[in-house]
Symmetry: C2
Subunit: 280 residues, 2 copies
């Protein structure tokens, strides 16, 4: 058991609190019994389990350990003090994992009818990003495309807020030019959320291969981003605040897409018939 907080392996793990280090090594630190269990169940690529036997008392935790043993995952036993020094949260539960970040290359993503994705431009807050991953999963989306960098989904706050969805949603990062080329080639309907759109999010046509595009918390979508969208939708606001939380806005639109899909599971090909005297 490692009892020194200045042990080299401990220091290397602790360094994962910094994004630069996570980016360079392609790793992340996942804490908590439920989060580690979800990672295992989602076939996350686990480099190492970190356990503090003193803290690890629940049956769930022991089951997680047993499972990790079966799968031949390396265990690092540390003292309570060392575990605390690695932890980003109050009341550490004694179980954590170092996992390999999983990213899917954009050019490996092909869209099928019925698929839906979220795309976020430069999202700033890791808590918002985690919440959006959680809702994307719940609303049946396939994944989230992170455009123009922004918050790190492997940030401890994002991982925690995602409640496991960071392991189940496909994660893609891309610059704007690659995204637009991909979206055009994939037959995606890109629907941007923006305050001043004339169509509300409830009245829009999301197509059969949907990418919902959301701007950053402060800036929203740029002119060029709006121009690229096939449709723009607004979420009506009836009070005095001038915007919604980004996670809330993403969730309202993601759920609307889900409900529209479920109301008409096999959308007809998008042909428009010119109005006749009879239908006008």
């Amino acid at each position: 058991m490692i009892t020194s907080t200045s042990n080299d392996r401990v220091k290397a793990i602790r360094a994962l609190k910094r994004r630069k280090e996570r980016d360079a090594r392609g790793l992340a630190y996942v804490e908590g019994i439920r989060a580690v269990l979800t990672a295992i169940e989602s076939d996350a690529d686990i480099a190492l389990l970190v356990i503090a036997p003193d803290l690890l008392t629940s049956a769930t935790a022991r089951a997680a350990l047993q499972r990790a043993n079966t799968e031949g995952i390396e265990l690092l036993e540390v003292s309570r003090q060392v575990f605390d020094s690695l932890s980003n949260r109050d009341g550490p539960q004694g179980l954590a994992a170092v996992i390999c970040q999983r990213w899917r290359p954009l050019d490996s993503v092909t869209l099928e009818d019925g698929d839906r994705w979220l795309a976020l431009t430069a999202v700033q807050d890791p808590g918002n990003l985690g919440t959006i991953l959680r809702t994307a999963d719940a609303s049946g989306a396939t994944g989230v495309i992170l455009l123009e960098s922004g918050a790190d989904p492997w940030d401890p706050t994002a991982i925690r807020a995602s409640t496991g969805a960071v392991f189940t949603q496909h994660l893609v990062r891309a610059d704007w030019a690659s995204f637009t080329a991909w979206a055009s080639a994939s037959g995606a309907t890109v629907v941007g959320a923006t305050d001043d759109a004339k169509t509300t999010y409830r009245g829009a046509d999301y197509g059969s291969r949907t990418v919902v595009l959301l701007g950053s918390e402060r800036e929203g979508l740029t002119e060029a981003q709006r121009d690229f969208c096939n449709a723009l939708v607004a979420i009506p606001m009836r009070g005095s605040v001038d915007s919604l939380n980004l996670g809330v806005a993403a969730s309202l639109v993601a759920y609307e897409v889900m409900h529209q899909r479920e109301a008409s599971p096999t959308p007809p090909p998008t042909e428009t018939t010119p109005p006749t005297e009879a239908t006008r």
Copy 2:
């Protein structure tokens, strides 16, 4: 100008970081130019403006000050260092206010047709609470009822997440027994959100005087709380996560109520006509 961080008035303001102190004195500390402006515009009861002239450079800030002067609000000038010692955020903007908390007694609330409220039982996270206030405002709700204590809407994190809605929404706190007595007497339709309800939030009847009831992040609604509800609704989830963020769940239901109201602004009295051969 006060330059000592141990000045008595400065210490008394700094103490408002603690909930106990806020509760005892009925005060809160509001930071940031926009937040203070919203407080002034919402006729918040401002006890004191705190300014750090060194930090306060923007035209908006000067306009806020001018307005405060016109309304005869007391100014406390402090050094940059003192302001930093009061601040709960990075990059303090040099303008803050001590305001009197505003609570509305439950027995002063009468429901009219068309009114909608949110009620939260023991919400734990001040960020979630602030987000819910923000969405409540945007969705046209009148206010938020906080049941069985829980997070403080006057917590700096809640104030910030509310983006001003803490000043515009009516805030009520009550215990469960007072709430049920009030709801019954007011003709409220209390609709509880819970995972295992058979009706989805899109298919429910929210009545004409709606109170949407949400449980705490961890516990959800208790058996007794569910029993009291006129209807229970679930938000469908299609992925692997087993719940939504509380702010997201509240927002989906609050917006659904808004959309239903706007689709039929004057709901007819709830009479059900038995189906005839012709309509069956």
